[in-house]
């Protein structure tokens, strides 16, 4: 589903990602872990083409992200094409980024209506189903400012799901939440994983990683230090940096 082949990314002279190679198969959940500044967010943003990769190839479901390849040359995609690729990829942000001028329901309805051209009734039906699925059916008419952090993040998940993505990216979805609200968001994500969604999750929730993830990747300084089954890496980290980091978060 996701194939990263020696992906690098630099901001000016600062190389943030260094030759990252990863695969995520359809229906798999990958947890991406690493210290602050290791390039986890940048990697997720590259998958969604919010950042442009400087070297290497990144493809989702066989589609090269951001470029078209013909006759051995790369052509930049038209923004319209890039937008089409993003539709298939849902993203959930650390700070939710809900649209504050819309109710929860409108937040979820917006993209299907505007981007996919769904009718209002269709979009509303879908939005109500999704809000129900994340346990917020009774909050559909609330504005984000009147929802708790955990509820906002669940609306944000529903909003991403409304575009029926094949892949979901989560960038530290629980790290802005009070501890007692983390569980409700993780529960929704577990349900999603069980339903067969392909997911890449940047998180510091090792319990979640152990329980749900199919693969576990530890990044540091823009490099993949270690990857494998979560149970194995967590129980028996090979690398010094991994050991040091895990001893802090576990």
């Amino acid at each position: 589903m996701v194939l990263a082949d020696r992906v690098s990314k630099s901001f000016g002279t600062n190389q943030v990602l260094k030759s990252i190679s990863l695969t995520v198969k359809r229906g798999e959940v990958m947890c991406l872990v690493g210290p602050s500044g290791s390039g986890k967010s940048t990697f997720l943003r590259c998958i969604n083409h919010l950042e442009v990769v400087s070297a290497g190839r990144l493809s989702v479901d066989g589609d090269l992200i951001g470029y078209r390849e013909a006759n051995g040359r790369l052509y930049e995609l038209h923004p319209r094409e890039a937008a089409r690729q993003r539709r298939e990829i849902g993203m959930v942000f650390q700070l939710f980024n809900l649209f504050p001028h819309m109710t929860a329901l409108q937040n979820v309805m917006e993209a299907p209506q505007v981007v996919k051209g769904l009718s209002k009734t269709q979009a509303e039906q879908r939005a109500r189903d999704l809000l129900d699925r994340v346990g917020l059916a009774d909050r559909s008419d609330y504005y984000p400012a009147h929802l708790s952090g955990g509820q906002q993040q669940r609306v944000a998940i529903a909003r991403a799901l409304a575009m029926e993505p094949k892949l979901m990216l989560f960038d530290e979805p629980t790290s802005a939440l009070d501890p007692e609200l983390v569980g409700e968001v993780l529960d929704v994500m577990k349900g999603l994983a069980k339903s067969g969604m392909t997911m890449i999750v940047v998180t510091h929730e090792m319990g979640f990683a152990r329980e749900v993830a199919d693969s576990f990747v530890f990044m540091d300084g823009g490099v993949v230090m270690e990857s494998g089954k979560p149970s194995e890496v967590l129980a028996n980290p090979q690398h010094k940096r991994t050991q040091a980091f895990l001893s802090k978060v576990l």
């Binding site: 993003r86 539709r87 504050p100 993209a111 129900d132 346990g135 059916a137 008419d141 400012a145 009147h146």
Partner: protein, 316 residues
């Protein structure tokens, strides 16, 4: 046991519960004195003004609802409304142009603002008045070919139209900066979230960024509307002479009595300004949706979360 009483670990009982505070209100004697002095001064001024013949109140009363004046007031209002409509629409377009990733479009907007904000509105109005002198005919079509339409400038554009265009195009350069400030005030995460959902740059602007920027845009726009109402008094430069100020001055030229006409004009300006301020108040309330501390319309959030019941989603 959760709280310790003052004398150890007694549970707080009814009798110990503190009584509601009934403090003596802090007095502000100087406020009262200041207000008194001001009221006194105002009263003196009013009494004096009412008696002073130069104000000529009977003339004020006579002219305030004079047909010519009320007609002129309507003209002023129309000038302001049309010019502001042009200014706001064009201002939004220019602001969005300045923020596009397209460098050509960006420079066009920059150039427009440079010219129209960099020269006095009075000078611009005089220029618009001379349009017919500079361009006797206006041709629409492909350059160097036979035009599709051709019309004589003087016949096609009245001084009123020219005044509206002149005021509107000038104001657009200011409005665009106000709108741009509003667009920039919206959190970057909003654009990112919309982009990640597959919305195009234009959809993101129109549906997500622009509506949120309204809260920042409206107060200074209210300012501009009121300022425009008064700037219309410059249209005599075009020359258009049926606006409120020019008309009242023309009347006073006949009566040789300028002061009551100035008062008449001021009263009308103040009247319109007051209405505009009320309108602004309601607009601001409308665009505070989701950010004010207003509770959702249907339900009041009770202290605790009711358990999410599937299917209990509100039906409007």
């Amino acid at each position: 046991m959760t709280a310790d009483g003052p004398n150890g670990s007694e549970p707080p009982d009814e009798a110990l519960e503190s009584a509601p505070i009934q403090a003596i209100r802090l007095r502000h004697p100087w406020r009262t004195v200041l207000a008194g002095v001001l009221i006194l001064l105002l009263a003196l001024f009013v009494i004096d003004a009412a008696r002073r013949p130069a104000y000529d109140w009977p003339s004020v009363a006579k002219y305030i609802f004079d047909r010519r004046i009320s007609r002129a007031a309507v003209n002023t209002l129309q000038l302001m409304v049309y010019a502001m409509v042009i200014a706001i629409v064009l201002g939004v377009i220019l602001a969005v142009m300045r923020l596009t990733p397209n460098p050509v479009v960006k420079s066009v907007a920059w150039f427009y603002i440079w010219v129209f904000r960099g020269t006095p509105v009075y000078v611009q109005l005089v220029f618009w008045g001379l349009l017919a002198v500079i361009y006797q005919n206006i041709d629409i079509g492909i350059p160097f070919m036979k035009p599709w339409f051709s019309f004589e400038t003087n016949a096609a554009l009245s001084t009123f139209t020219l005044a509206v265009i002149g005021l509107g195009l000038n104001e657009a350069s200011y409005m665009s900066e106000i709108v741009r400030a509003g667009l920039l005030s919206v959190n970057r995460g909003q654009e990112e979230a919309a982009t990640a959902l597959g919305m195009s740059w234009f959809q993101t602007m129109r549906r997500i960024i622009l509506p949120q920027s309204m809260r920042v845009i409206i107060p200074p726009t209210g300012n501009e509307v009121i300022s425009m109402l008064k700037t219309t008094s410059l249209v005599t430069a075009v020359p258009y002479s049926f606006d409120l100020y020019t008309r009242s001055r023309d009347i006073s030229a006949e009566t040789f009595n300028p002061i009551p006409m100035l008062i008449v004009a001021s009263i009308w300006y103040l009247f319109f300004t007051s209405i505009l301020m009320v309108g602004q108040y309601f607009l601001e309330k409308r665009f505070a949706r989701g950010v004010g501390d207003r509770q959702p319309d249907r339900k009041v959030v009770a202290g605790a979360d009711p358990p999410a019941s599937p299917g209990a989603g509100g039906v409007r």
